[in-house]
Amino acid sequence: MAQHEFKHALVVGASSGIGEALARRLAADGARVALVARRESELRRVMDEINVAGVDRAVAVTHDVRAVEDIPELVQEIARVLGGLDIAIYAAGVMPAVAADEYSTAKDREMVEVNFLGAVAWLNPIAERMARLGRGTIIGIGSVAGDRGRSGNPVYCASKAGFHAYLEALRNRLARVGVRVVTIKPGFVDTAMTRGKEGLFWVISADRAAEIILGKARRGVVTAYVPARWRVVMTIIRSIPSFIFSRLGI
């Protein structure tokens, strides 16, 4: 039996943006999908829209990723309800506006808790489960922001960089037992997180991003920029020496 089917899916951060688009695509492809997010009304909207055809493809699970102690039981319960768990996607993330001279521990803590700790708390039990079964796919939605420490939002960059490193380590642990871990680094995607922000370019829709992401995951790609042209941009940006990068003001 195929090790990398996408029949039973879990999407954390499914109430909006890339997570929502991924959930919709997976359901449209025939998967049963557990939608996990904090905002109950938004989650219900997504679930109802997916289930509109009368087929109960989606189930909603209201959960704040900061409630880490609830997660192992939720993972088991979700797998039970879906009848399995072939693919898990962590797409939850926050990026509060941070002024150039602002050092808000409260905001930074929220970003670390949602973007990084929440991911670890969800993906750890999922990784353990998939390792036991010798199959499954994990996708982490990171960001191009995790490739360099930008002055604009230090902890957002740090949380995504940490997430990338965690995903890479997870991949190195799990590859030998047949579990895939895919790191996705989206560029600018038209979501609530980016809407209204200035200086954006090459913006793609969340649905297009979801299409690319699932295509990459199905092909077994381990790290992907979305869209692919960001790989070129980020290769250049990563190679800029620090003394020059610090003067660019990005």
Partner: protein, 470 residues
Amino acid sequence: MLPENRLEWVEGWGMATGGAGYVFRLRDTSGVAEALEAARSAGVPVVLRGAGCSYGDAALRPESVVLDLSALDRVLAWDPETGIIDVEPGVSLGALWRLVIGDGWWPPVVTGTMEPTIGGMLAMNVHGKNNWRRGTIGDHCLEFDVVLADGGSRRISKENDPDLFHAIIGSFGQLGIITRARLQMKKVHSGLLEVKAVAAPDLESMLLLADEAKEKWEYVVGWIDAFATGKNLGRGQLHLARHLEEGEDPDPAATLDADAQDLPGRLFGVVPKAQMWRLLKPFTNRPGMRLINLAKYLAGSSLGDDKVFRQSLAEFSFLLDYVPNWKNVYLPGGLIQHQSFVPMASAEEVFRNQLEICRECRMPSFLAVLKRHRPDPFLMSHGVDGFSLALDFPVLRGRREELWAMVRELAGAAVAAGGRFYPAKDSALTAGLYRATFTAGRLDRFAELKAQLDPNRTLRTALADRLLYG
């Protein structure tokens, strides 16, 4: 929460169907209560599993408790005078025949592999190549102990509760957990069989020869070249076998020695059999299997036709064990089997139709086997007075849905002719097709017993969900 350290991938023998399960491996029967309680508190059903020899989803259900009974493998009592044996459900058919053969006994019904457990064999009410003569394994069970879903236990025999006896055997583990069985073995005077190979040029001849042979021969099994078409459709070879009578074997003590029965570990004394499937792998495609089927037929119809020879009981009976791990040739997708049981009068037409459907869909069976059957008294019986045709299919990437649809079409042809199906082999039937093979009274009786013995449907498999409760 169920203990995560019990989580394992559990799949059908054909490797085409599987799911995660919380596996409880019992060391003794007291563990049944613990597993039932764990399942109850987690709100999940319990699946019974022995050696996992059912092809599809009969011994699995995703995210459920899997009660693995294979380690309950003690022989509790053996009487070489009467041939009566008491066993725990995890005793394998292999362990059983090895124990009894030295005393001049043999299991009256054996499957094509010696791996199944007695518990699994009773749950599926298996048959062998002598189904016409000896019925199913249930016909040779004298009594059994069963633990019900509520934890209570009963001792059931044909005499003290014929209704429940004939319902639990063959109900694929949906009415209770068999924890001990008493079986009657069959007396044999030699460890050898007389075997005759007969070529059949077409389906009509195959069915005719098989029907005639059943009167004289204990075992009748036909192999069909499912790639043959036109006037050759249904051609193949029959293997007929009978036990030697007393005095026919010059040295019965030697042939009845279990070690003498063992299948050789190497082919021609050279090639390790455990690796042979790797040699077969390059041929596991349509052109390769067409060639192998053709070569087998040509060899059988020339060199092998009307050939009479002696063969050990194990060698004749357990063909599926002859090449260990042969199913691996079907990886990565695995294989499924469909077996239709069709009454005599319609068998030729239905099987012809089925072979044509496979050809039209360009999904010919890689291995096709014919057997002669008889009805039996069990509630969820698959037996008919007729024939069965078992068809193996590889599950190829991108063609899974198409294959499932084709199997349902094959099944539809059998249903229309009053046919039946065998859950141990199935992966693809719908509830509608399966239920159509029973009279309403039988299904109603099963539903009544289920409601009475297991009202919460604690005992439940993916197969039962698909065929009965879906």
